[in-house]
Amino acid sequence: MPEPMISLEGVTKVFPGSAAPAVDNLTLEVAAGEVAVLVGHSGCGKTTTLKMINRLIDPTSGRITVAGEDVMTVPAPELRRRIGYVIQQIGLFPHRTIADNIATVPRLLGWDRTRIDERTDELIALVDLDPALRNRYPRELSGGQRQRAGVARALAADPPVLLMDEPFGAVDPIVRSRLQDELLDLQRRLHKTIVLVTHDIDEAIKLGDRVAILQVGGVLAQHDSPAAILRDPAGPFVEEFLGSDRGIKRLSLMPIRDVPLEPGPVVSRAADPEEARAAMARYGVDWFGILDDGNLEGWAWAADLEQGPIASLPARSFRVRLGYDDSLRDALDTVITSHTGVAPVFDGERFVGMLTAEAISRELAR
């Protein structure tokens, strides 16, 4: 593994007046360009951990490095200007316009006016904010717009590291989901190292390249990719934290591409009725798909075979179809609601096979 961008070595934080540590001997590495999510119930020390990275809280013991540099050796304000920071209520300055808010860190760094103005415009475009909002004040913006402005502000000086503390906590679920997608999209372009704190396991699974699940007292319960955690939870705490629908959650991370597909009860136009009957028998169904030169044209009932050769049968079109990159979560929904229990999968326009409910459950059991 290359040098981690952020590393915590045996970090402990005991708040004055409290016997139990808020974070207990935590060791964690975050690779450059990765989205690391710290997730856990309230009181698990996730926010404390985050704030120790930019020194809003100083650890009691242990060592934290960012880009190989011990954070305690850098003056705190200087360190923080190199690390983007987004908090739940976004913390936009109510007395400053959106443009001035975005320009906060560049100003602290003493950039000249032209450079700040250019960068502000660039960021407003980057986070997809309406440029008309430039000179508005935060209270005039919607929750989603404020969140975007908050992200723009954190990105202003192009810091390699971004810390986000429940960044989507203050917006409604529909907006939240869209903002999450936008963050992922932004990350694909920017490749920042992001540490994000949330109490929402679904958010963690959706956003995290790796997820660290913390137990009360800042004890690391598991740190792995979402898929690995869902497949193989380390102990009863994680299992319970993941919830009873762990299997379904896993499915949302798996593309159909990864599952071996069945050819299905499919025959070509040129096939004779006996072949079609054999295919149907193999799958225990009373219909078959019709292939024309590799293209899945449609399907016909077994009873349709009485009407003439397959070549002349009218193909009924499939009402359900799946894309190769759809998640198994979506596929399951499609498969179980289609009365036949299977759905054809297409890679673009090309038919690649049939997905069955059994194949999905077999995949989960692997």
Binding site: P77, G91, P94, H95, Y137
Partner: protein, 254 residues
């Protein structure tokens, strides 16, 4: 009707000269303004700094508020021997009567509310915003200057405005210790049982107070960021919403 006619005549006949109301207004404004400016120069930086660090503030507020319990009249009486002594001792004060004791009393009156509102205003800034600012790399000084102070400005200015009005009203007492100002008309009016003069003086003091209030309201509207909303400029937020637990100064002006 005769009284109002007399009153009107009084204003027409007494506007000019050393004892005219133009000069008296100027004297009144002069001592009030000097007292308020001096109080702001002392209380504002102190209140802001203590509010920013959050240390020892409550203790200072308590001490300062003892001052508020003392009537200005009493302070005036106490100040008099002190300023007379000062005039004897310090070369640049040539008169222990008049301006000096009036100034001391008004300064003492103005100091606590300006200090308390500044301190409370800074303390009342949303801690989330303060932490966001720190997290972005603000140093303490810049945090105070660029974030806390502008956010506390509505509360601070309300303090200054209410203080100024109070000072203008109280400067009337200056006449008791030999100062000019509009109080002259009231005090002298009483001495000579001249009702017209008393009422004229009272009207002038009232008008000046209203003018002071209006002027400061205008300033507030000008200097407070429009991002803070108009409703915060005209009323002081309720303590429940503005202050954190345990920091609940009753002293905040309303």
């Amino acid at each position: 009707m005769g009284f109002f006619a007399d009153l009107g005549r009084w204003f027409l006949e007494n506007w000019s000269g050393d004892a005219g109301w133009l000069v008296r207004i100027w004297q009144h404004v002069e001592v009030s303004a000097v007292a308020v400016v001096a109080a702001v120069l002392v209380a504002l930086p102190l209140g802001a700094w203590l509010g920013h660090t959050g240390r020892g503030g409550l203790a200072v507020v308590s001490v300062v508020n003892i001052g508020r319990a003392m009537p200005s009249f009493g302070i005036l009486a106490l100040a008099l021997p002190f300023t007379i002594w000062l005039a004897d001792t310090v070369w640049f004060i040539d008169n222990g009567l008049g301006f000096a004791p009036t100034f001391v009393a008004l300064f003492a009156l103005a100091l606590p509310p300006v200090f308390t509102n500044t301190w409370a205003g800074i303390r009342g800034v949303d801690p989330e915003i303060v932490e966001a600012a720190r997290g972005m790399g603000f140093t303490g000084r810049r945090l105070l200057r660029d974030v806390e102070f502008p956010l506390a400005l509505p509360v601070i200015l309300t303090g200054v405005r209410v203080t100024a009005v109070q000072v203008v009203a109280t400067a009337t007492l200056g006449a008791l210790v030999g100062y000019g100002g509009l109080g002259r008309y009231i005090i002298d009016g009483f001495a000579t049982q001249d009702d017209v003069r008393i009422v004229a003086g009272a009207l002038l003091v009232a008008a000046l107070s209203v003018l002071t209030e209006a002027m400061f309201s205008l300033v507030e509207r000008r200097v407070v960021s429009p991002g803070l909303g108009i409703e915060r400029q005209t009323t002081v937020p309720t303590p429940e919403t503005r202050f954190r637990n345990g920091e609940h100064p009753e002293a905040v002006l309303s």
